[in-house]
Symmetry: C2
Subunit: 436 residues, 2 copies
C-alpha cells in the first residue's frame, strides 16, 4: 500500500464539525428569514472573478492579501475578498434587470491571505445587506431597523448600534483647515475605543496642533445622552446642518419604532478609510464589547463608479458572521447544543426495514429520527446516541407487526422505558423528552 | 474621471438574480431539512486545500481541470473540485471527534475548469449525503429512502432511481475472463442510455468477442419487471449470491416502505470508473430523462484510504443541484415565481417613520413587508412592486395616527382598495391577496 498523505488543513482555514455547522446554519437561516421579511432579496456572485474587476486600478493593502493566479486559459483571476466589490460589478452588469431601489442580501465566503496571528481566518463568511439607488433617510433608517431586528431574531440582547455621520466630521475638519490630513485623522480617531482619549489626543496634537486637536477630541467624545451629543455636534460643526438634521430624523424614527434604546449617537465612529460619505455605524455587544464591532456599515455616494456611469447611492451593513458566532458562543456557553436528531430507532433483532418504516412514520409527525444501521450491543448504541445528542430511543418489541405498529420509547438520559405506544403516542412522548 | 472597467464574468461562472437565487435557497432549505429529519448532520470544509490532499498521487483527467496555484506563502494549493475528496480528508482528520457510523450532508460550491461548450459550469453546487463506517444493507436502503423522500419534499414527482450492484457486474466479467478489460467495458456499458443497444454491442464485440459481448448485453438489458431482471442477474452471475441477495433485500425494504414504485433494477448502471464497489444508482426524471441523472451514488469499500489506515466503508449519493434546478425549471415553467415580499408600504405624503412602524407591525403577523423609500408617483411605485412580484400595497391614509393604526390595503393586480383596516385585518387581507 502506498504511503499515507497527512490529512491537514491550510493555515487560516477551518473544518466545521456538525455541532458548529448546525449553529452557523441556524444563525444564517434566521438572518436570511429576517432580511426576506423586509423585502430584501438574495443574490449570488462567483467566488472567482477577473482580477481587474476585484482590484480595480489596485494598489492598496488588500491587494497583497488577495488569492490571485492565472487560470488554465491564462486569465488573471482572483478569489473575492469581500462582497461589496462583486456587488458593485453585479449592479453595473444587471442594472436593467433589477428593481431600483434594489434591496439585496448576500451571505457567502470571502478569502484573504491575512496574518493569522491576529486571530483572523483566511476563509470567512460575510453577510451583507444594502439598499441601492436611493438617497432617502428612510433607507438609512431601514438598515438600522433591520440590524436591530436581526439581532433580536438571533436572540442576542444587549446590542448597541453606534451611529454618526461622516459628513459632519468632514465639515468639522474643513472648518479647522485639517481636511488635508483627514485620512490620518480618521485613522487616529477610529482608535479611540482601543487606545483611549489621552493617546488619541497626543496623536492629534502632532497632526493638527493643540487647538484643532482639542476641538476634534471634544467632538468625538459623547455627551451624557444622544440629545446632548447631537447639540455638541451641531455646535462644533455648524455648517453641517443637513447632516445633523438627518441624524436627528433617524433618531426620531427610532423613537417612534421603540428602538432608540439600541442606538448610541457616537461621533467617534468614522469607519476609517472606507468609502462612506453619509451615516456610518458600528455595533457592539454589551456583554463582550472587546470583540469589537460585529456589524458595520454606512451610506455611500456611488457604489459602482468603477464599472458604470450610472450613479448608485446607497446604504448598507455587513455582519462578520465568524466574529459574531464566536461572541454568541461566549455569551451562551452554558446553553445546550441542539442534538442531531430527536430520536433514534435502535437496532434490535431482525428488522428487514421495519425500523425504517417506524422512523419514516415518526418523521411524518414532524420529528427528526435516525436509524441505527448495525447489529450492535444496546450499550454501544446508547453511547452513539449520546455522542449525537439524541435524547430518545425507539425500540421495536419482539413480535412487532407493521399493522399495529406498537413501540417502546426510551428516555436515554433518565433510562426509563414506556412500552406499547402507537406512533402518535410515541411521537408525543419523544417530543416531551426532547423538550420540543 | 478614470476609464470604466467593463463589468463582466469569467466564462463558466454565473451571477444569480434574486428570482433564481431565491429558488436555489428554497430547494437547498428543503433538502437540508429533509436530511436533518433523518439525523444526517451538516459539515463544512474549506474551498482551498493543499493540492496534495485534493489530487493525491494525481494523474487523471480531473487534474487538468483543477484550479491550482501557489499562495502568498508559496504553498501549492487548489480549489476543491468535488465534496468527496475533502470529506475523506475530513473523516481521517476528525475520526475521533465524530460518531461512527457518521451521517453527513454537505451542500457547497465546487470548481472545475471544464470545457463550457458542453453546457457545464466551472462553478457549481454539489449536494452530497453519506453514511460512513458501516457495511449494512440498512444504510444502503436508507440512502435510497432519503433520495425518494428528498424528491418528494421538493415536490418533484415521476422520479425513478435506477439501481444495480457493481459486485454482480464484476462477477459476470470475471466469469467470462473479461476482468482485464473491465474499465473499458464499464465505460462502454455506461453509454447504453446514450448510444443505444446496437452501438454498445458493436463496441463490446471488439473488446471481448461475440460470445461474451452477447452475455454482457443480455445482462445489462432490463427484464419486464424488477423480479425478472433480478432472476436474469442471478442466472448470468451465479457466483454473486451475496450481492444479488443484498439487492433483493433492498427491494423488499422498499416494498415494505411503499416506495418500490420509484425503484428500477437496472444492471446497466455501473457508475463507470468511479470507486464504487457495492450498490450503485442513478436517478432520472420521467418528464425529462434527457437531462441525465440528477442524483447518483453508491457504496464504496474504503473512503479515506489515502489519509488513514482506518477502513471506512460507506454509501452515499450526490445531487447535481444545477442540473436538477434546470430540470425543475423546465417542468414547472408555467408556475408562478415567489415574489420578493407579500406587501409594500407605499410612500404617500409625510411619513417620518410611520411607514416603517406599520411594516414592522405587519411583519409581526408573519408577513414579508417592504417599505418604498422615496417620494415618487404612485404609478412608479406600482411598477416597482410588479417588478418584484409583490401582490399587495399598503397605504397610510391622510391623518394616519399611530394610536389607531388604520390602513388601506390595495390588491395591486385587481386594482381595488379596502380602506380603514386594523393591522390584524390588513394582515388577513394581504394574506388573502398573496394566496398564503
Amino acid at each position: 500500500m502506498a504511503e499515507l498523505i497527512q490529512p491537514r488543513l491550510l493555515k487560516g482555514f477551518r473544518d466545521f464539525l456538525p455541532v458548529d455547522e448546525r449553529e452557523r446554519q441556524r444563525v444564517t437561516d434566521v438572518l436570511c428569514t429576517t432580511f426576506s421579511s423586509f423585502g430584501f432579496e438574495p443574490i449570488d456572485t462567483p467566488i472567482l472573478e477577473y482580477t481587474e474587476i476585484l482590484l480595480g486600478k489596485g494598489g492598496g493593502d488588500t491587494d497583497k492579501q488577495v488569492y490571485r493566479f492565472n487560470d488554465q486559459g491564462g486569465r488573471d483571476v482572483a478569489m473575492r475578498y469581500d462582497l461589496t466589490v462583486p456587488f458593485a460589478r453585479y449592479m453595473a452588469l444587471h442594472l436593467h434587470e433589477l428593481p431600483i431601489p434594489f434591496k439585496r442580501f448576500h451571505v457567502a465566503k470571502v478569502f484573504r491571505g491575512e496574518n493569522t496571528q491576529r486571530g483572523r481566518y483566511r476563509e470567512f463568511v460575510q453577510c451583507d445587506f444594502d439598499i441601492v439607488g436611493t438617497d432617502s433617510t428612510s433607507a438609512d433608517f431601514e438598515i438600522v431597523l433591520l440590524m436591530v431586528r436581526s439581532f433580536q431574531a438571533m436572540g442576542v440582547s444587549g446590542v448597541k448600534i453606534h451611529l454618526s455621520h461622516r459628513g459632519v466630521f468632514n465639515s468639522l475638519l474643513a472648518e479647522h483647515g485639517a481636511a488635508e490630513n483627514s485620512e490620518e485623522i480618521l485613522r487616529t480617531v477610529d482608535k479611540l475605543r482601543k487606545i483611549g482619549e489621552e493617546k488619541v489626543q497626543n496623536a492629534l496634537v502632532n497632526l493638527v496642533g493643540t487647538g484643532a486637536a482639542d476641538t476634534i477630541l471634544q467632538f468625538i467624545v459623547r455627551g451624557k445622552d444622544n440629545n446632548e451629543t447631537l447639540s455638541s455636534m451641531r455646535e462644533l460643526a455648524p455648517a453641517a446642518t443637513a447632516e445633523t438634521d438627518r441624524l436627528e430624523e433617524v433618531f426620531a424614527m427610532a423613537e417612534s419604532l421603540g428602538i432608540s434604546g439600541s442606538l448610541v449617537l457616537d461621533p467617534s465612529v468614522t469607519r476609517g478609510l472606507d468609502y462612506y460619505t453619509g451615516i456610518v455605524f458600528e455595533t457592539f455587544l454589551d456583554e463582550i464589547p472587546e470583540i469589537g464591532s460585529v456589524c458595520s456599515g454606512g451610506r455611500y455616494d456611488n457604489l459602482a463608479s468603477l464599472y458604470t456611469k450610472q450613479r448608485l447611492p446607497g446604504v448598507g451593513a455587513s455582519i462578520g458572521l465568524d466574529r459574531l458566532m464566536a461572541g454568541l458562543q461566549e455569551i451562551n456557553k452554558d446553553a445546550a447544543k441542539a442534538g442531531a436528531a430527536d430520536a433514534i430507532v435502535l437496532a434490535t433483532g431482525s428488522r428487514r426495514g421495519d425500523d425504517h418504516l417506524v422512523a419514516d412514520a415518526l418523521r411524518g409527525q414532524g420529528l427528526r429520527v435516525e436509524v441505527y444501521p448495525d447489529e450492535r450491543k444496546l450499550a454501544q448504541q446508547y453511547t452513539f446516541a449520546e455522542t449525537k445528542g439524541i435524547p430518545a430511543g425507539v425500540i421495536l418489541p419482539d413480535g412487532f407487526n407493521t399493522g399495529e405498529m406498537r413501540l417502546s420509547v426510551r428516555d436515554l438520559s433518565a433510562r426509563t422505558n414506556l412500552a406499547d405506544l402507537s406512533i402518535g403516542q410515541a411521537a408525543e412522548k419523544i417530543r416531551e423528552i426532547a423538550g420540543r
